[in-house]
Symmetry: C2
């Protein structure tokens, strides 16, 4: 059965692969699962048909027969659980890979989201320029710890896993900030993920959507 995901008709990231369909596309490419994409507009995301799939009116969603899921981490996990290649067979290694998925979303991403809020939502507020260094220090605390744990390894825990896929997706949100370059092993880690053929296919697919929307 070919699953259908949703993605932005016109992504606000201008095709840089920062929208949340990207990790889902990447996971599907890693396991070799073809998929279909239904594009939704910003107004369409808030309509009842989409809200029935995604209570928070966002993308991506994932439909496969009777199953409808939302939340990119949950969708990546579902794909990883039902295909080989994104979770180790060993039970303990599998639990640790899942831990890295949760760590990416629960520990690394929150201060990065705060940064996005400061840069965009609160851009014109008096305090934004003063707050940004405070936020960046909180991000650095997390990156330093992550960098220390990764060390010289290629991936966070043995083989490439869904934990790396989600973590790299989160770290890519910092690309424009230049902060990753302060941690060379993290920059190399992200580059290693981006060099995977499955990442390239996923990236190109979402970029093609942006290009088509811009031409249209």
């Amino acid at each position: 059965m070919i699953p259908t995901i949703t993605a932005f008709e016109r992504s606000p990231d201008r095709g840089r692969g920062l929208a949340r369909d990207m990790p889902v596309r990447w996971a599907l490419e890693e396991v070799g699962q073809p998929y279909e994409v239904r594009l939704v507009s910003f107004s369409g995301m808030k309509e009842q048909a989409h809200l029935a799939l995604h209570p928070f009116g966002q993308i991506p969603t994932y439909e496969e027969g009777d199953l409808a899921l939302f939340e990119s981490g949950a969708i990546v996990f579902h794909i990883a659980e039902h295909h080989r290649g994104l979770l180790p067979d060993d039970a303990n290694a599998r639990a640790r890979a899942i831990t890295w998925m949760f760590a990416a979303i629960g520990t690394i991403e929150p201060p990065i989201l705060e940064r996005s809020t400061a840069m965009f939502v609160e851009r014109d507020a008096d305090w934004s320029a003063q707050r940004l260094p405070l936020i960046d220090d909180r991000i650095r605390n997390r990156l330093a710890a992550l960098s220390g744990r990764l060390g010289n390894a290629d991936w966070l825990d043995g083989m490439f896993s869904a934990g790396d896929l989600v973590m790299i997706g989160v770290l890519r949100r910092l690309s424009a900030s230049g902060m990753l370059s302060e941690y060379p092993n993290l920059s190399a880690y992200v580059a290693r993920g981006e060099a995977r053929p499955a990442f390239r296919r996923a990236f190109d697919a979402q970029f093609a959507v942006f290009t088509a929307a811009s031409a249209g």
Copy 2:
């Protein structure tokens, strides 16, 4: 095998069950799994022995034989996957329950963490009073959507699951704000979780740690 978790020697929440050992204790109580607790101090959390278990120097951790995990969501998931009672048997219902775990951590919690940062970390900053209403509106957007999805149901998707356990843990962080009372069905949902015998046992256990530390 009896797992060992870590918790604060002296929790900054003064025993209100908002520290992240609480969802782990609650999950263990729901499935009837006895556990041991090792208390760690704030300085101890940053020492090498603890950092080897938790790269971000926080609590909780979870040790079970050769397995060491961190990140409360990942630990709750591990417990749910290895015991009956926190995830439905039906594959689709199970995937949806896992989706709610990720939604709690990835969608509901980030603006709530921003609120905590504004209230505590940036408490004395000039902008905090002005920013708080903006943050609260972002929280309300998420709560309104969650409230709409929950409707009159007892739990988010059929039976009580790890998704509800994590979601209620996240919503309880808003207790002191009074915001939950704007959404009566969410208040009732949290109260329903707090009334579960397993929640009470977990709450009492963490409260006893706080009481002992205060007396000591």
